[in-house]
Amino acid sequence: MVVKSDDNKIICRCEEVSLGTIKDIVHHFHCSSREVKLRTRAGMGYCGGRICRTIIEKVVQDINNEKVSNESQLSYRPPIRPVTFGQLGGSENDDES
């Protein structure tokens, strides 16, 4: 029985970043979750990291043997929901996204 590696499973769905890619980056650069995000675009897609943020933080913390901190490394930035340029510009009925 061949044990298939889980490294090709997707972590960031929007940017299609795999677990293996994230692990490699952390091992290679000994870096923070923020650096992982900047190097791989994990958590920078359409959803704004709403789904994968906690997983990225956890994987990085585990590999680096760190405790969970009170403040997140992967900060939230507005807009925290996908919005159209029309909505950003103040047009209330722009639903053509």
């Binding site: 029985m1 889980d6 499973k9 677990l19 906690t54 956890k58 997140s72 919005v83």
Partner: protein, 411 residues
């Protein structure tokens, strides 16, 4: 401009709106979802006294009461940014800008993901999504399903899916790896289920709770049958792990394997179990992104489900004029959220009228009610909530001047 803007029309937000409006405040409530009620909309379970808790009905009652008091409730409004000005808050939404003197975040919780291999296939959803499809939209996601992730939430929703006519084939756990955490460890899963209170919503959980007082989880998991135990007639299999979700264009089943008490995999037992859809249940965590962009301080408290905005028992955050209530302050039952909402509504009324003295008795009574409700809660999502809360509030750095003045005078 309203006196108070509440983000989130769930049990906490609506209860806060009612309490504040009863004190004469002008209140607006906005929510992303097409319908008010929040997490109440999904809830349907039987309480130990035999009565059914019908969340949809409860949500409607709260909305109606709020309407009677002149509260404006607007749905399908998503907030994407917030800024604070001298006069209060400016809230930017997909339906334009809202202004208010005080702001209450009652955004609730979000589900924690567990990335199982194949989880991006169509037909894979979170357990909460399946609940919303069934109970709110009245759409059956499929005829049969497998649930990956054994916790209080997944067991409650498994029963709801069964009531919707779905054949829930089994509740299993994810394969242990760096992303699945304790959810993939049979002993830890059983241990957290065993710590449930004697008030747990099902006889089997109550039994587990009793056993938990006598037997160490390490021994209990060894005795746990490989075939699992039945709960609401659904097999709960803590010694079966999901290796991957299979399917070509959409999910058609789960490749599972037997595991031992210590998590060791028995590869000879590998098989594929067919299902129309697959639910992943990773538990809940406070949805606090808005508190974060406003600049609240945070504290990581595992018992409360993760990172929570720092706040005091009056539900004030460390940002003046910003309040929180409900699951954003920690994962607890809807009843606790409602009680917290009332505290927040009253505290905001006191804040606006600047008459804390007048309101003190009713605020303290409401706080007391939160504690009583918490102690009586049917479902404790995480063990040790009460203690973690007490510790958190004792250490809380949030001391609004008015409150501390009252306290000092008392002393």
């Amino acid at each position: 401009m309203s006196d108070l803007l509440i983000i989130g029309a769930g049990p906490a937000g609506l209860s806060a709106a009612i309490a504040a409006a009863e004190e004469g405040l002008s209140v607006t409530v906005i929510d992303e979802f097409p319908k008010a009620g929040g997490r109440l909309l999904g809830q349907l379970h039987q309480e130990p006294n035999g009565e059914w808790w019908n969340g949809i009905q409860k949500g409607e009652q709260l909305s109606q009461r709020a309407h009677q008091l002149g509260v404006t409730i607007q749905c399908e409004v998503s907030v994407y940014d917030i800024s604070q000005s001298k006069n209060g808050w400016e809230v930017y939404t997909t339906r334009g800008e809202y202004k208010a003197e005080k702001l209450l975040l009652a955004t609730g919780a979000t589900e924690s993901p567990i990335p199982v291999k194949g989880w991006t296939l169509p037909g894979v959803m979170t357990i909460g999504a399946a609940q919303i499809m069934g109970n709110v939209h009245r759409v059956k996601p499929g005829n049969s399903c497998i649930i990956i992730g054994a916790n209080v939430l997944s067991m409650a929703i498994a029963n709801e899916l069964k009531l919707c006519g779905v054949n829930v084939k089994e509740i299993i756990i994810p394969k242990a790896d760096i992303t699945s955490n304790e959810a993939g460890n049979p002993e830890q899963v059983l241990s957290s289920l065993m710590r449930l209170t004697h008030l747990a919503p099902t006889p089997i959980l109550r039994q587990l709770g009793k056993i938990g007082k006598m037997v160490h989880p390490k021994i209990a998991i060894r005795l746990f049958p490989k075939k699992g135990i039945r709960m609401f007639d659904i097999p709960l299999r803590l010694k079966t792990a999901a290796l991957e979700i299979v399917g070509d264009r959409f999910a058609t089943g789960v490749r599972t394997v037997n595991i031992k008490a210590n998590g060791e995999i028995d590869h000879t037992s590998e098989k594929v179990v067919d299902a129309d859809f697959v639910c992943i249940a990773g538990g809940l965590t406070p949805l606090s992104e808005l508190a974060s962009i406003i600049g609240c301080s945070f504290k990581y408290i595992p018992e409360l489900g993760g990172h929570v905005p720092v706040h005091n028992e009056q539900m004030q955050t460390n940002i003046p004029g910003l309040y929180v209530a409900g699951n954003i302050t920690g994962i607890e039952s809807a009843k606790v959220a409602m009680a917290q909402g009332r505290v927040a509504g009253l505290a905001i009324a006191a804040d606006i009228t600047n008459d804390w003295e007048q309101m003190e008795t009713s605020i303290n009574k409401a706080i007391e009610n939160v504690n009583i409700t918490r102690d009586k809660a049917l479902i404790q999502f995480h063990p040790g909530i009460s203690d973690a809360r007490k510790k958190f509030y004792q250490k809380s750095e949030v001391n609004l001047t008015q409150i501390s003045k009252i306290k000092k005078r008392e002393a």
